[in-house]
């Protein structure tokens, strides 16, 4: 087979581009959790991913997953059992979990206060993130039909934002448009009221607190794996394909 003809050998890909390309492949959280469980129980069933790719660092990979995803108790137990030290203080996890929970329950102001206590500079540095928190608060007010409060909040806190940045202004307009509908959930902007919006804000905040891309290393690895398989499939290459991530089942070569 000839790779050379279709692939530009010297093509340089920046990290950003690479991440973007990987962005289209999604190992699900459930899949990963199953994989972890599998590893924890059997210890060897997914050798290919764990041991082959990260040569002996599988425990660290697991710890990284537990910590970034906020499984505090599991992380603590895993530390005791495997002897791997988490990269950050596990108590910090508590705080992050608390903040995440607050947002997921719609208690945005509480979350803001928590953030300010722990990371006093964060929201001053990242005003766009702060806007998203404020926007979420506004959404919560609208959800609870506190129309007047919502309007007042928008006026006192958010108009300033809009002046600072035109991008913000359009987002703000979309949010306020919710007020115009009898049933905002059914409006074209209904997605803002969906729980996934809370998730999004929570993740953004979580990432900002972690100061880095908060995707667990394991997820990145799996993304690479899936993407490579996709590329190979596109070129009709025969290879041992992994069909089930959770159990790391690998097919026979000929079946491809």
């Amino acid at each position: 087979m000839n790779f050379g003809s279709s692939v530009e050998k010297l093509e340089e890909v920046s990290k950003e581009e690479w991440t973007e390309r990987l962005g289209d492949v999604h190992p699900t959280r459930t899949e990963m959790n199953k994989l972890i469980m599998n590893y924890l129980v059997t210890g060897n069933s997914n050798k290919l991913i764990m041991n082959y790719l990260v040569t002996g660092n599988s425990n660290k990979l697991i710890m990284n997953y537990l910590v970034t995803e906020g499984f505090k108790e599991a992380a603590e137990k895993f530390r005791v059992e495997s002897g791997v030290q988490p990269s950050i203080d596990l108590d910090q996890l508590d705080e992050r979990i608390k903040i995440r929970e607050a947002i997921q329950c719609g208690k945005i102001e509480e979350a803001i206060a928590l953030v300010n206590n722990l990371h006093p500079e964060l929201l001053d540095n990242d005003r766009y993130l702060y806007f998203h928190l404020q926007q979420q608060h506004l959404i919560e007010l609208i959800r609870d039909k506190h129309v007047e409060a919502a309007l007042e909040y928008a006026q006192t806190h958010l108009s300033e934002r809009g002046e600072e940045n035109p991008e913000i202004l359009s987002e703000l307009e979309r949010t306020l448009a919710l007020l115009a509908f009898e049933n905002p959930e059914d409006s074209p902007f209904g997605e803002l009221l969906h729980p996934s919006q809370r998730q999004k804000v929570a993740s953004e905040l979580n990432a900002a607190i972690l100061e880095t891309d908060s995707t667990p290393n394991l997820a990145n690895l799996l993304k690479l794996l899936l993407w490579s398989q996709e590329e190979l499939d596109k070129r009709k290459v025969k290879y041992p394909r992994m069909t089930d991530i959770a159990t790391a089942t690998i097919e026979d070569t000929k079946s491809s």
Binding site: N116, P120, E121, D124, Y130, E164
Partner: protein, 786 residues
């Protein structure tokens, strides 16, 4: 505390709230809390956090804090034992030091502050981040650098290079950069310091690796660049040549951000500025010239930091342009081939001309630097520079106040003023006229009167170049503008280069018979005074030689001869120099005598007999007999390269002198001399050209040449060129011009020499001799081609 917490949550992220609170006078109250030992530490911490948030507002907010004395209160707070409180204070301080007008003076006001900061630097990641950032932004002067270094900053910072936290590594790199920038002592301390057995340069090289962020690679390359320019790392070392240089070139590439492009090109320009080999290597690395050329075509003005509260408008077009210009200037500093490749950049000259008139001073300086570098090429001076009106914008720039601009523009002007025209070439005269109309003389005179050595030098140098082959009006204008008094001042300057150039100016003024007589009539007394003043002074040989050359020129005038003949003191001095131990002086003095006794001129007989009375003839005979073994040897020893040129030179002159009595016979002997070496003829002729330069001979030799080969018109043309060469102080450059048509390659080489001299120091006479290398060089070039 709850009130405080509310205030905090309200202030964070809200500029409007910040303004409101500041207007209500909250700052003094907060400061009161921070400083009050009786208040609980929690409240004090909260107060410091609120101050920190206020500082993160607009520039005005930060300034109000600084004006309220916030900095010293917070610095005092650092002495507290509570880490959260200290961290809150440090965070606020960091923000203030990152503001556009950092309060750096506070750090050095009290001598205990720096040691304390270094002391607590390792306490936590937060202290590391903050203190490195503060240092990186408060280190502006050499004193600052030395203070920080003297307090052990380098040992404290070294471990942080290995920190696992990116946010610590980055400001640490910035710290090293500002500490080492243009500071030899600190650079050397840094280069020799180690951490865990690894030298700092080695640690820095690790951060150049491609798996690090661009930002980090850039910052590390900058540190290494500064270490190199600070004399702590040799430019030819692996670290620089194989690691730093390629990294910087990588940063200039399209796939990096505009900011990295600009920084990369600027740092590259600085790294290679003074090393010809680095320039050479850089010029052939990854199409750098083409990459930089693309910078000139960028036209957008973009906003960055849209995510953060403060949005900065950056004119990327200007930033990229000036960076490219700077890099071009460095790349082409020494090598003609590189310069040629740069100039081939599409529309480069148009870009430069436009940039010279830009409103952005950085762009102006960049363009002027680039122009300066390119002006070292005679070929470009005669072609590209000729086609583009660089004069006007350049002269405009010179009237600006900026010192940096003036240094570059005046050097450029010097080069541009070099007239390479052998005669009255059409097209060049108008150029000089334009410059004159633009007030070049007065600008240069102003420079020549400045207190800074480099400015004085450029001023007098420019005048000297301007006087070369100028018409009498220009010459008179120059003398009147500078005045004899200032000329005397310059002649007693402590810098020998300036004295040299001043003498060069006088020499160039006193060229061509008519001008000599005309100018001597007006300024004769002063000029003779100046000559005696220098001849009696304690000066290096080159200066005395220049002075004797002036005398030689004076002796070429008709009436001007009188100034020497009537001054027995000067005549006796000339005789002393004829037997001087230095051959160059012997030759110059002898040339002068030769001009005085020249047969064909009026009153020659009287002068000859007067000189004979003084015993000149005896001296000449002495010289000739000496010239067989001893003088020849001496000449040979003086400089192997020029030995042949010299031996022909002195013999010829002396021989000519001996023919004085014999009258007509002289010519016969001389032509015999030439005829005897038929095979070598063309080479000899070259040699004549060479030693003509060495001698600084004036009309004496040339008239002779003109008289000799009547039958060979082509040669005669060449000789005529010599006349002009002889008047040039920078004989090489002019000479190169003469060989232009036949030997382009060589020409450019010599020109390099001459121009390099312009910037550093010039022992021009030395370089003039280099033509002897010619054949060798040519061979080398040929073999390279194969």
């Amino acid at each position: 505390i709850t009130v405080n917490r509310q205030m905090k949550n309200c202030v964070i992220g809200n500029n409007r709230q910040k303004t409101l609170l500041i207007d209500q006078g909250v700052i003094p109250r907060l400061l009161q809390w921070v400083i009050d030992d009786d208040v609980s530490i929690e409240l004090r911490t909260e107060a410091a956090i609120i101050l920190g948030s206020l500082a993160k507002g607009t520039e005005d907010h930060a300034n109000s804090l600084i004006e309220s004395g916030c900095v010293s209160v917070l610095l005092k707070g650092l002495l507290n034992s509570s880490l959260p409180f200290v961290e809150a204070c440090l965070r606020c301080l960091r923000t203030l030091f990152l503001s556009p007008s950092p309060p750096e003076e506070h750090i050095y006001q009290d001598a205990t502050i720096v040691p304390h900061l270094i002391n607590i630097i390792s306490k936590s990641i937060c202290t590391q981040e903050c203190i490195t950032t503060i240092f990186a932004n408060c280190c502006k002067t050499t004193d600052d650098q030395n203070t920080l270094c003297g307090n052990g900053a380098i040992a404290a910072l070294a471990p942080l290079l290995n920190s696992p936290t990116y946010k610590v590594q980055m400001p640490t790199l910035k710290c090293f950069a500002v500490l080492c920038y243009k500071n030899e002592t600190v650079s050397k301390t840094t280069a020799t310091a180690t951490y865990n057995g690894e030298a700092i340069p080695t640690l820095l090289v690790k951060l150049l690796a491609r798996d690090k962020t661009s930002e980090m690679q850039m910052a590390a390359a900058k540190c290494l660049t500064y270490l190199c320019r600070g004399g702590a790392l040799p430019p030819r070392s692996n670290i620089i040549l194989m690691k730093t240089l390629p990294t910087l070139i990588r940063m200039c590439k399209k796939d990096r951000t505009l900011g990295e492009n600009v920084e990369g090109a600027e740092t590259l320009a600085y790294l290679i500025e003074e090393d010809a080999e680095l320039q050479q290597v850089a010029s052939i690395s990854d199409h750098i010239i083409k990459t930089l050329a693309d910078y000139l075509r960028y036209t957008d003005v973009q906003q960055i930091n849209s995510r953060l509260s403060q949005r900065k408008v950056v004119n990327w077009s200007n930033e990229l342009k000036q960076a490219a210009f700077r890099a071009f200037a460095s790349l082409g500093a020494n090598d003609e081939e590189i310069r040629k490749r740069i100039i081939e950049t599409e529309n480069l000259m148009e870009h430069i001309v436009t940039a010279l008139s830009s409103t952005d001073i950085k762009v102006q300086v960049g363009a002027a630097r680039c122009l300066h570098s390119l002006s070292r090429s005679v070929q470009q001076l005669r072609t590209t520079f000729h086609d583009h009106a660089v004069w006007k914008p350049l002269m405009n720039l010179m009237s600006k106040e900026s010192e940096e601009l003036l240094a570059v523009t005046s050097s450029t002007l010097c080069n541009l003023l070099l007239e390479f025209s052998p005669g009255k070439e059409v097209g060049i005269q108008p150029r000089q006229k334009t410059i004159l109309e633009l007030g070049a003389i007065s600008i240069l005179v102003k420079l020549a009167c400045k207190t800074e050595v480099s400015m004085r030098l450029n001023g007098i140098w420019g005048l000297m170049n301007m006087a070369f082959q100028a018409d009498i009006n220009v010459k008179t204008q120059i003398i009147e503008a500078i005045g004899t008094e200032q000329l005397f001042k310059l002649l007693s300057d402590s810098n020998p280069l300036i004295v040299m150039k001043t003498l060069g100016l006088i020499r160039n003024l006193l060229s061509s018979k008519q001008h000599i007589d005309q100018l001597m009539k007006i300024y004769g007394t002063q000029i003779m005074q100046a000559v005696v003043f220098i001849l009696e002074g304690d000066h290096m040989v080159e200066i005395k030689e220049q002075t004797l050359c002036i005398l030689t020129n004076v002796a070429d005038g008709d009436e001007a001869k009188g100034f020497i003949m009537e001054n027995e003191d000067v005549l006796k001095k000339l005789m002393t120099y004829m037997v001087h131990t230095d051959v160059k002086l012997q030759i110059s003095a002898t040339s002068c005598i030769s001009n005085l006794v020249w047969n064909e001129e009026e009153g020659a007989y009287n002068r000859q007999s007067k000189l004979r009375e003084l015993g000149v003839q005896k001296l000449l005979q002495q010289l000739l007999s000496a010239s067989d073994p001893v003088l020849f040897d001496k000449v040979y020893m003086y400089d192997k390269k020029v030995s042949q040129g010299f031996d022909v030179g002195i013999e010829e002159i002396v021989m000519k002198m001996l023919q004085v009595d014999a009258g007509e016979i002289y010519f016969i002997v001389l032509s015999e001399c030439i005829k005897n070496t038929p095979k070598d003829k063309p080479r000899q002729q070259n040699r004549h050209i060479n030693h003509a330069h060495i001698n600084f001979d004036t009309f004496a030799t040339t008239t002779k040449y003109q008289n000799t080969p009547k039958d060979k018109p082509r040669q005669q043309n060449r000789h005529i060129n010599h006349v002009h060469i002889n008047f040039d102080t920078f004989a090489t450059t002019a000479k190169c011009h003469n060989t232009l048509k036949d030997k382009t390659r060589q020409q450019t080489r010599y020109i390099n020499h001459a121009h390099i001299n312009f910037d550093t120091y010039a022992t021009t006479t030395k370089y003039q001799n280099t033509p002897k290398d010619k054949t060798g060089q040519q061979n080398r070039q040929l073999s390279k081609n194969y």
